[in-house]
Amino acid sequence: MNSYTLVDSIQLAKKKFFRAPQWEFKLGVKILLGLLILYFLVLFLLFGMGLFHFIEKKLPGTDPILVLNQGLVYYFGTDLLIRYFFQATPVTDVKPLLTQPIRKSTVVKGVLLRSIPTIFNALPLVVLLPFCIVFSINKGANISIWSWFAGIIFLSIGVNFLIFMINKSKKFLLFFAFFFGIGIGLEKLIKLPLLSFFGKGLDALYQEGYWLGIPLLFLLWSVHTAYQFLKRQLYLDKGLGMKRGKLLGENLNLFDRWEEMGVFIKNDIRLILRNIRPRQVVLAGGLFLFYGVLFFSQDQYKEIPAIHILSGLFITGGFMLTFGQYVPAWESEYYNFLMCQNIPYKKYIKSKLYLIQFSVVLSTLLSLPYLIYGIDIMLNILATALFNFGLGGMITLFSGAFNTTPLKLNVKAKAFENTQNFSFTQLLFVLPKLLLPLVVFYIPYYFYGYHAGIMGLVLTGLGGILFQNYLLNRIVKMYQFRKHQTLSAFNK
């Protein structure tokens, strides 16, 4: 009865990968991603090694561990939050196994085991292990540092299993936000050390090794509860069933005045509201708004306008870059249907363009607070907004004609999974979206200075608006020309 093992499960995953469309390319992406992860791994290793000396230097005479402990509550808080949003708990994958002669306990153990090797669990290990080694070398090896280390790892892996239970609960998120918010508030306002209790607990772990029992108990408890929980979920009307969605965006009648275009825009809004994947992508696009905080506040970037232009493009084009790049793959699930409806192609494309342009206007309005960095920054944002509005949206849609990877709408993307919908042609089209504005800025900038560069962007954007109709026709031609290729790719 126990012939299904982890090896089988890995082999299935392997087949899934190599038999997916465009797997050769995805392999390339995976390798690149691997290198990227390796890079970060090394970075974190170095960070962990340097951390000890850094704290010693900045706060001489203190014990680095006690300093770290005060901050770790925030680390665990953020960790939990990031896991909540991005850690996939692939329970539905096991559906075909249920009717096979495999024990449920084996299936559940497989799911739990496969959840361990993730980035989220590797991070504390990669940072803290070198930290603890450096610590031991400098302060002499002792048991307390390692019991502290083990405690943190136990907690972190415990959280990993906790995610299975809280994954689907919005209540948990609210509770967590409430608790954490109150905690931070009280700590800052009336110095009530609520959150510091956690740090104190970690201190105890370090000072007296027998406290290690508590994280260990937490880990065992979370494994046990997750196991019991998942076992109960292995029914079609429980965790494996599709949850019925609540109806959102019912009343969008205000778009009716735009007739056919309004219909498409209504559909797109519903697509975003009612499906997991687009919601995730649009939220990610919203984060682009904060791009400027990173770069506008730093003095060292003052003399590099390219950084400012790129920031402006990201701030005003977040939705365009994230959501826009998957047009028309968003509709790959029913592209056959769309292609035999009496849909004027131009109106379809135009509705997408309107949506993108609307998002550019909205992001621009939301970016008004950047005025605190000065009028030149704001001019730069407005100019890049005009570029995105006039031309960027159109380039995005044009590149969509070459988008051939179908997309599942109502499935949560894993961390980094967005890269699977990434293709070389898409990469090529990122260039005009980001390089073209740099070129039209830098040429006048080189000869006539900053404001001339801004004018270059403005004029290009206006040109896009002026020739919108002509350009749209070209885009429509390209979509029509590629129709059958797109269809056959989406039907794979």
Binding site: M242, G245, Y334, N336, C340, Q341, S488
Partner: protein, 231 residues
Amino acid sequence: MISVRDLTKKYSGKVVLDLPALDIPQGQRFGLVGNNGAGKTTFFNLILDLIQATTGQVKVNDIEVQKSEEWKSFTAAFIDETYLIGYLTVEEYYYFLGNLRGISKEEIQAWIQNFEPFFNGEILNQKKYLRDLSKGNQKKAGIVGALIGKPDVILLDEPFANLDPTTQIRLKTLIEEEAEKNGTTFLISSHDLTHITGVCDRIVLLEKGKIIQDIKTTSKTLNELEQYFSN
């Protein structure tokens, strides 16, 4: 209404469909039968210009589907559940189709009331997304969606599959009524020989992409077909 000339489709050298000539007059209820891989869906996809023919042409109402898109204004199809938009409710989906086919929301609201018996109270006003309906109910919703705006040609792939017996019988009546009332041309493919001989006035039997039989339905047709398929 539909005329096919020298139509072939090859996949890596292998012929999957080969129709030298086929004409389907207006108002005909045309049935397509054949085992898996006979080329039924390929034929439908060629009519809908979803795949490109290797040679030959399909004309719907004298419009060559590969050259012009005009056929879309009077042709409708329900092939499978990918012809639904999963995140819409049935009503929203119908308003969407109505809009594409020039029918107002109010007209749709009045018109769909006629289908209450067909829907059996499980489809309208459910406040459910189409993706959350059962397979059978999705099929019902899709078939009725194809009727919106009285298209001249309707293609249905396996319309009887997944339906309960009551609905299968109601669907037969529905197709007959639509064909008679509006002169709609129906192209129906099915594995269900009883139902397809019951509803279609002409049956074409495909095997490995070729027409084996082309018969006007009589009381003997069902027997003949069963005979053929049991060998």
